[in-house]
């Protein structure tokens, strides 16, 4: 019975957010579990550290308050990611960001051998070429290490839709990056 926060499930920890004496430890454990996931999603989606920090602060704040008030949640990580995703979408709307055509993207010319950093930049640039839903799903799957089911929960779409989106997104990415991958090898 001597449980530590790390032994609780997400749901149990979320429940503890409504109790004053266990709130802090429960929240810190949930933050520890999902910091990487939400940061990766924000950072790759926005490519702006300050905005990513603001969004993550706001997202965890809303999540904390929801737990404090006892908002019923079935899937805790999906709920958290949904908050983050909505904030990211709002941020996109605020900045009136437009998805650009592939011809407008400045992708480095293929060369022999790529530094990892350069390859990262190329991949992230290629990501911007994907349709929003595809990109969103691919970021969650690749960077945030979420399963298809979790992504379906967050995007509120059927699992088959998520499967199609990710498969199409990766096919498109491979198509864009094929020349780099081959050269890089």
């Amino acid at each position: 019975m001597s449980n530590t926060p790390s032994t609780y499930t997400d749901f149990e920890l979320y429940m503890q957010l409504s109790a004053a004496h266990s709130r802090e430890s429960a929240f810190k454990e949930l933050y520890r579990r999902y910091e990487q996931r939400v940061w990766a999603y924000c950072w790759v989606s926005l490519h702006n550290e300050d905005k990513s920090k603001d969004i993550i602060q706001e997202a965890f704040f809303r999540f904390y308050k929801a737990g404090e008030k006892g908002v019923a949640v079935d899937n805790v990580p999906a709920y958290l990611m949904r908050i983050v995703r909505n904030l990211v979408i709002d941020e996109h709307r605020k900045s009136d960001r437009q998805f650009v055509d592939i011809d407008d993207i400045d992708i480095p010319a293929p060369a022999d051998g790529y530094e990892q950093r350069e390859m990262n930049a190329i991949i992230e640039t290629a990501l911007q070429l994907l349709p929003a839903e595809y990109k969103d799903a691919l970021i969650m799957q690749t960077y945030s290490d979420m399963s298809y089911n979790e992504i379906a929960e967050v995007q509120n779409v059927p699992l088959t839709t998520v499967r199609n989106r990710i498969v199409r997104a990766k096919a498109r990415m491979r198509e864009i990056l094929s020349v780099y991958i081959n050269n890089g090898e």
Partner: protein
């Protein structure tokens, strides 16, 4: 599943670990006879490795954690500091409560000419003086008109600064100035107010034995029941409880280990008792209905964390209550039952208190049971210990459920 595109999709799903067994077997069956698909598989695997490497490149900044914790208002330091902070908050709260109690006591102490001012000290210092009688004034000393009749136990209410030695045995005639108000006598005849002298009398044949003896009550309750009027200098009893609750579990109503401060104040013939604890607030009023029993009402508020009740599937149903507030009716027995006579020394230092209440809270029916034994160490200081239990019957979406809290109470009491 017979086109190249579909197989390409299956490759991707397989690499992501999202293929079913049937899909996997279909894919590998086709790959075994399709070199183009094998090449595509290799390329997809390389791409998968490349994409997964991206995950490792995105690390949250080191200051993000502090910023988030600051945003939600939590401490950002280590757990030790957090604990210290929590303890500090608790002590601070207790300190404020204690300060309030102490202030009340000090204020009561400095009220001049309190009608219930104890007279023992005056008797001891000025045995021959016969001041005029104030009929409404009460005393704690006892006198008897019958010679050689010894009153063994006298309940002394006296200022705390009075040394104990000054209130011990006096085997000489004393002058009493007040009616007899309370005595535990071994004689057949126990004086009452009506029988007591109403004017100052000299009683040369009276022997009064004032024992060094602890008060007969811990919570200010027993004496209140036995006396027609409360007559305490400052009838406040502080009680410090340390309750050890079981650790949190799926079926228990868990609460932190907490400290409570109780105080009992007579109001007329009633006894009010307030309990302020970390997490719980309880206020009760009790009416004596027998020499040792009383009937009471209680208002309370306590934590009932949602964690308490989790359904079988562990996810879907739970009770959502941050706090519960309740109103209960209670019965209390405060005395020295037969079983204590046989297992404890035959004196009044051991006492027993039992209380049972039932009421309604905003979560359903609530029952409480508390029992503890109290031992007077000396004078006004006592210690108590015993189990307590709270059982909350919940109506959880039409299903009856129970949350319980069991605890052991250890307390130290002081009668001011």
């Amino acid at each position: 599943m017979n086109t190249q595109n579909n197989y390409s999709d299956l490759i991707q799903l397989f690499l992501d670990g999202e293929c079913t067994e049937v899909e996997s077997s279909v894919l590998f069956s086709e790959m075994s006879k399709n070199p183009q698909l094998q090449a595509e598989f290799q390329q997809a695997a390389q791409f998968g490795v490349l994409m997964r490497s991206q995950q490792q490149m995105v690390k949250p900044p080191v200051d993000l954690s502090g910023m988030v914790m600051g945003k939600v208002g939590l401490a950002t330091t280590a757990a030790v500091a957090t604990s210290v902070f929590s303890i500090g908050k608790t002590l601070s709260a207790l300190g404020l409560v204690s300060l309030g109690v102490v202030s009340a006591v000090v204020a009561l102490r400095f009220i001049p000419n309190t009608p219930s001012q104890p007279q023992v000290q005056q008797v001891a210092q000025q045995p021959q003086v016969t001041p005029p009688v104030q009929s409404e004034q009460h005393t704690n000393t006892t006198t008897e008109q019958q010679p050689k009749q010894v009153i063994k136990y006298v309940y002394i209410q006296q200022p705390l600064q009075q040394p104990l030695q000054q209130q011990t045995v006096q085997h000489q005639p004393v002058v009493t100035e007040q009616p007899i108000v309370e005595a535990h006598s071994d004689t057949e005849h126990e004086p009452t107010i009506a029988e007591a002298p109403t004017s100052l009398q000299e009683t040369p044949n009276t022997t009064t034995e004032v024992m060094q003896f602890a008060p007969t009550m811990v919570y200010g309750f027993q004496s209140l029941q036995q006396q027609p009027q409360p007559r305490y200098v400052s009838p406040v009893v502080a009680h410090l409880d340390v309750v050890i609750s079981p650790p949190e579990g799926h079926s228990s109503w868990f609460s932190p280990r907490y400290i409570s401060l109780r105080s009992a104040v007579p109001i007329g013939k009633l006894l009010s008792q307030a309990s302020i604890e970390t997490g719980d607030r309880i206020f009760s009023l009790q009416w004596p209905i027998s020499p040792t029993g009383s009937f009471g009402i209680e208002l309370g508020r306590a934590y009932l964390p949602t964690y308490a009740v989790i359904s079988q599937d562990n996810i879907k149903t739970f009770v959502k209550e941050d706090y519960i507030g309740w109103f209960s009716l209670s019965m209390r027995e405060d005395g020295r039952p037969e079983f204590l006579q046989s297992i404890t020394p035959n004196d009044d230092k051991f006492r027993w208190t039992g209380e049972l209440s039932i009421g309604l809270s905003n979560a359903g029916i609530i029952t409480k049971a508390e029992t503890y034994a109290t031992y007077n160490i000396f004078n006004s200081i006592s210690v108590s210990a015993g189990p307590t239990a709270i059982i909350q019957f919940l109506n959880n979406q039409g299903n009856a459920q129970v949350a319980t809290r069991f605890a052991l109470m250890f307390g130290a009491g002081y009668e001011f």
